[in-house]
Amino acid sequence: MRLRVDGNLCSGQGRCYLRAPELLESDDEGFVTIRGGSIEVPPELRDAADRAVNACPEDAISLTDD
């Protein structure tokens, strides 16, 4: 599973890393560090990834099976 953050849609709301601190963190400006990129999600952190997806009002975050 990969968690992706669309660099054009992410506006630095910060709700993904607040809801899923075990998976995501903020950069110096308040954007999630993987803005415009992706990370591999270990199976045990699947819930955290879902929380991040469900917290983003920009719909900038997506979780895919690849």
Binding site: S11, G12, Q13, G14, E29, N54, C56, E58, D59
Partner: protein
């Protein structure tokens, strides 16, 4: 066609209404009225004030519009202000690259990491203020605690003396009054006075620079925007804007949150028993009680938006409060629900102009709730008179609370 009035183009296309959202109403009536309009239609035309505006009411459409700055620009940020008496704001009124450049400079100052810097002070001040109030057995949340706290935290965040708050608040009130129906000349005068204050701060910091990491004006004087130093005028406008954005909203949020807790014992008891849920509660409060009920925009290019013929220069109301209570998006939208699986609210706006101070606001609200509920867990609303909310940008005028001592 492009010269025609928007109201004429709206005729027969969408409902036309005539409701003034700048005026005071009994508490919660604004939300009720806005909910009703959202269920009436996804887009309406409101003829008040001035030439009126297209009102977008439903979550998906509000989101679509806020994420299309090429179609809806920020030359105007409230559908309720007088377009001919426009008070210029930075970064709100910037678009495109200029906006990105300013945000790039100021975002780090308001990032979660920076907010952490003032967290010990925010907690210390919250505790001191609450402990001073506790033996009194009553307080007016909006006018006493919330106003003072929000002002102190704003000043602390910028590295300015907290004592200056008393002088600033009436000026901020006057500017907001001007946004929503007050005299534009009084507004301009108040804005000038705030700029004079910051003008003196700039002179002082040019003579004696402060700490680059804690003094905002010194930081701006040493920052570049697109390789050019910030002009004095831009620094003044930016400081005034941040003050306007930061003071009123946090104070208003505390008013709605404490009214809710005073009148919903079950929610209050949950947060007393589970303080670890307070961050989620704050997010849900921001959804339920959106104070900035709308983001205004200008139509930047002719567009047919969901069947409505919008033309360049038309005014838009993008209904944040309506989106946050849209039953198409949220179950039980008018209730406080702590356990939402998904809470994609727009309380801090969305798109590239999302609230710069969101991280600071969250931290302040969380700290106040934690420290208040630990010290004054039982409290009630101390009046039977109906409460009033200010129009424009919502704020309860008074929230009297009482508790046993």
């Amino acid at each position: 066609m492009s010269d025609s009035k928007p109201i004429d183009r709206a005729e027969g296309v969408c409902p036309i209404i005539d409701i003034d959202y700048r005026i005071d109403r009994p508490a919660f009536e604004t939300y009720a009225s806005l909910n009703e309009l959202r269920e009436q239609a996804p887009v309406l035309y409101n003829r008040t004030p001035f030439n009126g505006y297209w009102m977008v009411t439903r979550y998906d459409l509000v989101k679509e519009a806020l994420q299309r700055p090429d179609v809806f620009n920020n030359k105007l940020v409230s559908a309720l202000g007088d377009p001919s008496q426009h008070l210029y704001l930075i970064p709100q009124n910037l678009d495109g690259k200029a906006h990105v450049a300013v945000r790039h400079v100021v975002n780090p100052w308001f990032s979660p990491l920076s907010v952490k810097r003032i967290e010990p002070l925010a907690r210390e001040r919250a505790i001191a203020m609450i402990e001073e109030l506790a033996p009194k057995g009553s307080c007016n949340m909006t006018n006493e605690f919330a106003m003072l706290y929000a002002t102190e935290m704003f000043l602390a965040m910028l590295g300015l003396p907290v004592e200056d708050g008393a002088m600033m608040l009436p000026l901020v009130e006057e500017i907001f009054h001007g946004f929503f129906g007050g005299d534009p000349e009084d507004q301009a005068k108040a804005a000038d006075e705030i700029k004079q204050y910051f003008d003196a701060v700039i002179d002082d910091r040019l003579a004696t620079p402060g700490d680059l990491g804690t003094d905002f004006v010194t930081f701006l004087l040493n920052s570049n925007m697109d390789d050019e130093p910030f002009s004095r005028e831009n620094i003044l406008t930016l400081c005034m804007t941040i003050m306007l954005a930061g003071l009123d909203t946090t104070r208003s949020a505390l008013g709605f949150i404490f009214l809710h807790l005073a009148t919903h014992e079950d929610d209050r008891l949950t947060l007393i028993d589970h303080p670890e849920r307070i961050p989620d509660a704050v997010e849900e409060f921001v959804r339920l009680y959106a104070l900035v009920i709308q983001d205004g925009r200008y139509v930047a290019q002719d567009v047919d938006f969901h069947g409505c013929p919008m033309r360049k220069g038309d005014v838009m109301w993008l209904g944040l409060a309506q989106a946050n209570r849209d039953p198409r998006k949220f179950d039980r939208p008018d209730e406080f629900v702590l356990d939402r699986d998904s809470n994609k609210h727009m309380g801090f706006g969305i798109g590239q102009h999302r609230c710069l101070g969101a991280h600071l606001a969250r931290t302040e609200l969380i700290i106040v709730l934690e420290e208040w509920l630990a010290r004054i867990p039982e409290f009630r609303l101390d009046t039977t008179d109906p409460l009033t909310e200010r129009g424009g940008q919502l704020m309860l005028k008074s929230v009297p609370l009482a508790w046993s001592v």
